[in-house]
C-alpha cells in the first residue's frame, strides 16, 4: 500500500470475529500483513472465551452471527468488568441505512463497512483507530 507502513500494527493483538471463514481469512491476512497478531473466532461466544484468555487490544466483529450475534457480543463485553474498555469495531454489511448509527449507539467504538479490500480496509482502519485515544498512540506511523 502507498503510505501505510508495513509495521503499522506491529505488536498489536487483534481479535476478529466473523462467522464467514472467507471473510475472516481476508481480514486476518490483511491485518497480519501489517504486523498484527490475529486471533480468530467464529461467533460471539467463542470470541468471549478467547478474550478472557488472550486480552486483545482491539476487537473487530461482524454483526450477524449465529449463537451470539455482534450486538449481544458487544453488550457481554461491556458488562464484563475486565473487558468493558476494550475497543470494539463493528463490521457492517451495507444492508440498511442506520445500521452504522445503531452500531455506534449500541456502544461500538466505530464501524467499517464490507467488503474488505486491502485498500479500503486499511485506510479506513487507520482513520478509525486514530479516533480511539487508547490505540492511537500504539499506531506505528
Amino acid at each position: 500500500m502507498n503510505h501505510i507502513p508495513d509495521n503499522l500494527l506491529e505488536g498489536w493483538e487483534i481479535l476478529v470475529v466473523d462467522d464467514e471463514p472467507d471473510s475472516l481469512e481476508v481480514a486476518s491476512v490483511i491485518l497480519d500483513a501489517y504486523g498484527a497478531k490475529v486471533h480468530e473466532a467464529g461467533d460471539g461466544a467463542e470470541a468471549l472465551a478467547l478474550m478472557k484468555r488472550a486480552r486483545p487490544m482491539l476487537v473487530i466483529s461482524d454483526l450477524s452471527m449465529p449463537v451470539m450475534d455482534g450486538w449481544r457480543f458487544l453488550s457481554a463485553i461491556r458488562d464484563d468488568a475486565d473487558l468493558m474498555y476494550t475497543p470494539v469495531i463493528a463490521l457492517t454489511a451495507h444492508a440498511m441505512p442506520g445500521d452504522a448509527q445503531r452500531a455506534l449507539e449500541a456502544g461500538f467504538n466505530n464501524y467499517l463497512t464490507k467488503p474488505l479490500t486491502v485498500e479500503t480496509f486499511m485506510e479506513n482502519l487507520v482513520l478509525v483507530l486514530m479516533q480511539i485515544p487508547m490505540l492511537a498512540e500504539h499506531i506505528n506511523i
Binding site: 500500500m1 464467514e20 472467507d22 471473510s23 481469512e25 481476508v26 481480514a27 491476512v29 490483511i30 497480519d32 500483513a33 450477524s64 454489511a93 451495507h94 444492508a95 440498511m96 441505512p97 442506520g98 448509527q101 464490507k114 467488503p115 474488505l116 479490500t117 486491502v118 485498500e119
Partner: protein, 639 residues
C-alpha cells in the same frame, strides 16, 4: 286551578265531580226541606192560632154568658128588691158579698132608681166604679154584658160588666146592679186554662195590661214578658174589628218562636174597643221538630251522599283506577325493557281495548326486539367472520411482507458475502499479501477477475436497490450531514476517474448551502455518484462539472454537466426506465445494467425530489437532481 284539578287521580276527580253534583241537589233538597218545614211551621202556627183565637173567643163568650147568668141569678135573689126599696145598705151589702163570693165576681154595684150607689164592694177610692153612663143606661132598661176601661192603680184595666135593672111588681124601675169581673191576669189565666203553649195578653191603649200566668221559679209569672213589643199596625188592624194575624214569627227574649194574633175585644158601641187580646202560640216544639227534621234530612243526605260516594269510589276503583294502574305499571315495565310483560285487562270498554292494544304493542316490540337481536347476532357473527377473514388475510399479507423482507435481506446478504470474499482475496493477491505472488499473465487474469467481480457487485447492488425500492421496502435515513462535505467526497472519488480518462473535472459549491441538512447521505451519494460516473463514462474528452447549490430555503440541487456524446431526443423519454439504454450498442460499449438512472429517479422521487435531463447529441448532457432538505421516512414508493 285547572292544573291542580287535572293532576288529581281520576277516581278522585270523578268523586269530586260527583260530590259537587250531589251537593247541588242536596243543597236544593235541604233548602226545600227547610222551606217546607218553615211553611209547615207557619201553617201549623196559623192553624193553631186560628184554633186558639176561636177558642179564646168562645171562652170569652162563655164567660160573658156566665156573667149574664150570674146576674140573672142575683137578680132573682130574694130580698133584693125589698132591700133596694128600703135602702137597706147593710142588708144589700151582705147579699152582695155572699153573691160575689159564690158568683166569682170581683165587684158588685147596686144602685137605686136615681143612680145612687147603695152598696160598693170596693173600698172607697181604691178602684173606680162602672161608669155613670153604664148606670144610666141600665136604669133606662138596657141589660147587657159589656166592657169598660177603668183607671186604677198601676194603669188602665179592662173590666167585664153585666148590668140588670130591678123593677117592682108594678113594673117601675127601682134600681139596678152591675156585676164586674176584672179582666186581669187571673182572668186571662183562667181563659188560658189547659192551653199548653198558648199565652194570652190584654192590650189596652197600646200597652200590655194583663197576661196569663204560668208557674215560675219565683211564683206565677206573666207568660208574656214586659218587653213584649206590640206591633202598632197589627193592633190598629185589630181595632178595626178583625182578628189581625202576625204573618211573621216573633221571638221571645229567650229565642222561642211564637205565632200571634190580635183579637179585638168588643165593648159598648160608643166605647170603641181600644183593647185587643193577643194570642201567642208557642211554636217551640214545632220549631224543634223542624230542626230535628232538617238535621235528620241533612244527616240523611250526607250519609246517602257519602255512601253513594263510597260506592262510586269503590266502583270506580275496580272498574277504572285499578285497571288504569295495571295499565300504567305494565306500560312502565314494558318501557323499562321487559317486553314480555302483558297486562291482564278484561272488558270491552276503552280501558279493556287499551289493554288489548298495549299487549299487542308489547308483543310487536318483543318480536321486533327478538328480530333485531337475531339480526344483530347474525351481523355480529358476520362481522366476527369477516374480521377473522380480514385478520387472516392481514396476517397472510404481513407474513408475505415479512417473508419478502426477509428474502430481500437474506438475498442481499447471501449475494454480497461471496462477492465480498472475491474482492477481498483478489485484492490480497494483487497486493502480494499473505504469501501470494503472481507473474504478469496471472496478474492480468487477476485484474480481469477483479473487474468482473466489481461489475457483478455493482449489478447485485443495483438489483437489490431496485428490489427494495420496487417492493416499497426502502428505508431512508434521517441523519444530519454536510452537503458540502458530501460533495467533496464525490469530487475526490470522481476526480481520480476523470484524471485517468484525461477529462477535466471541477466542483462548484454554493456558499449559501446550509452547513447541515437532514437526510440519507448514502442514498444521495449513490445518486450523485451514479450521475457522475455516467458523465465520465459517456465523455471521451472535455469536462465534467459538478455543481451543488441551494434552491431557495427548502431544497438543493446537484447538477452534473458533461461534454459527452449526449442523448438523442427520443431516448430522453425512456432512459430513466428500467433496463433501457440509448441503444444496444451503448450497453455493449459502455456497460452498465441500465438500472442506474432508474435508481436515481426512483430514489429522488422517494425523497420528494426529482431528476431531469437536458442534452444535445455530440455536445453533452446536463442532469439536474433536485432534493428537499428534509426527507420524510418513505416506506412506500410514490407512483
Amino acid at each position: 286551578m285547572m292544573r291542580w284539578f287535572r293532576d288529581l287521580s281520576i277516581s278522585l276527580k270523578i268523586q269530586l265531580i260527583l260530590f259537587l253534583a250531589l251537593a247541588l241537589p242536596a243543597a236544593i233538597f235541604l233548602f226545600l226541606a227547610t222551606g217546607y218545614s218553615n211553611a209547615l211551621l207557619t201553617e201549623s202556627g196559623r192553624s193553631r192560632i186560628d184554633e186558639e183565637t176561636f177558642l179564646v173567643q168562645q171562652r170569652i163568650t162563655h164567660i160573658e154568658e156566665d156573667l149574664s147568668a150570674a146576674a140573672n141569678l142575683f137578680k132573682n135573689t130574694p130580698g133584693l128588691l125589698d132591700a133596694i126599696v128600703s135602702n137597706d145598705r147593710d142588708g144589700l151589702r151582705t147579699l152582695a158579698l155572699a153573691a160575689s163570693a159564690s158568683l166569682e165576681v170581683d165587684d158588685f154595684d147596686v144602685f137605686d132608681a136615681q143612680g145612687n150607689r147603695l152598696v160598693d164592694t170596693f173600698e172607697a177610692g181604691e178602684e173606680e166604679d162602672p161608669e155613670d153612663a153604664i148606670i144610666a143606661q141600665t136604669l133606662l132598661g138596657v141589660q147587657q154584658v159589656t166592657l169598660y176601661e177603668a183607671l186604677q192603680e198601676g194603669g188602665l184595666a179592662l173590666r167585664s160588666v153585666a148590668t140588670r135593672v130591678i123593677r117592682n111588681a108594678q113594673g117601675e124601675t127601682i134600681g139596678g146592679f152591675t156585676l164586674t169581673r176584672n179582666i186581669d191576669d187571673a182572668f186571662l189565666t183562667q181563659l188560658n186554662y189547659e192551653r199548653d203553649g198558648v199565652e194570652l195578653g190584654l192590650i189596652l191603649d197600646g200597652q200590655l195590661v194583663a197576661a196569663s200566668l204560668a208557674a215560675g221559679s219565683d211564683g206565677p209569672q206573666r207568660q208574656i214578658s214586659g218587653d213584649f213589643a206590640v206591633q202598632p199596625e197589627l193592633f190598629a188592624a185589630a181595632m178595626s174589628g178583625d182578628i189581625a194575624r202576625n204573618s211573621e214569627t216573633v221571638f221571645s227574649q229567650s229565642g222561642t218562636p211564637f205565632v200571634e194574633a190580635f183579637v179585638p175585644v168588643q165593648g159598648l158601641d160608643d166605647l170603641r174597643p181600644s183593647a185587643a187580646l193577643v194570642v201567642r202560640v208557642n211554636m217551640q216544639t214545632i220549631a224543634d221538630f223542624q230542626k230535628v227534621l232538617v238535621t235528620a234530612a241533612t244527616i240523611l243526605a250526607v250519609v246517602i251522599a257519602l255512601g253513594f260516594m263510597a260506592i262510586m269510589g269503590t266502583l270506580l276503583n275496580f272498574t277504572v283506577s285499578r285497571r288504569i294502574a295495571a295499565l300504567t305499571s305494565a306500560a312502565a315495565r314494558i318501557g323499562a325493557g321487559n317486553y314480555g310483560e302483558r297486562v291482564n285487562l278484561t272488558g270491552r270498554d276503552q280501558l279493556g281495548t287499551l289493554g288489548h292494544v298495549m299487549n299487542e304493542l308489547a308483543g310487536d316490540i318483543q318480536k321486533r326486539q327478538a328480530d333485531l337481536q337475531a339480526a344483530n347476532e347474525t351481523l355480529e357473527r358476520r362481522v366476527r367472520e369477516r374480521t377473522r377473514e380480514a385478520e387472516g388475510a392481514r396476517r397472510i399479507a404481513e407474513e408475505n411482507n415479512r417473508l419478502k423482507s426477509e428474502f430481500l435481506a437474506t438475498m442481499s446478504h447471501e449475494l454480497r458475502t461471496p462477492l465480498n470474499a472475491i474482492e477481498g482475496f483478489t485484492s490480497i493477491i494483487r497486493n502480494r499479501m499473505g504469501g501470494a505472488d503472481f507473474n504478469e499473465k496471472t496478474g492480468r487474469y487477476i485484474e480481469r477477475i477483479e473487474a468482473n467481480s466489481k461489475r457483478l457487485l455493482g449489478l447485485v447492488n443495483d438489483f437489490l436497490d431496485i428490489s427494495r425500492i420496487e417492493s416499497g421496502r426502502l428505508q431512508l435515513a434521517s441523519l444530519p450531514f454536510s452537503p458540502a462535505e458530501a460533495a467533496q467526497k464525490w469530487a475526490s472519488q470522481i476526480g481520480v476517474l476523470a484524471d485517468k480518462k484525461g477529462i477535466a473535472f471541477d466542483l462548484t459549491l454554493d456558499p449559501d448551502l446550509p452547513d447541515q441538512i437532514v437526510g440519507d447521505e448514502e442514498a444521495v451519494s449513490k445518486m450523485a455518484l451514479n450521475l457522475l460516473s455516467n458523465a465520465i463514462k459517456f465523455t471521451e474528452q472535455g469536462k465534467v462539472s459538478l455543481d451543488v447549490r441551494a434552491t431557495g430555503s427548502s431544497g438543493w440541487q446537484i447538477t452534473v454537466r458533461d461534454t459527452g456524446i449526449g442523448i438523442p431526443p427520443h431516448a430522453r423519454e425512456y432512459i430513466f426506465d428500467e433496463f433501457r439504454q440509448v441503444d444496444q450498442t451503448s450497453s455493449r460499449k459502455y456497460g452498465g445494467t441500465g438500472l442506474g438512472l432508474t435508481i436515481v429517479q426512483k430514489l429522488a422521487r422517494a425523497m420528494g425530489g426529482s431528476v431531469v435531463v437536458e442534452s444535445e447529441v455530440g455536445r453533452g448532457s446536463v442532469f439536474t437532481l433536485t432534493l428537499p432538505y428534509e426527507v420524510a421516512q418513505a416506506e412506500a414508493i410514490p407512483a
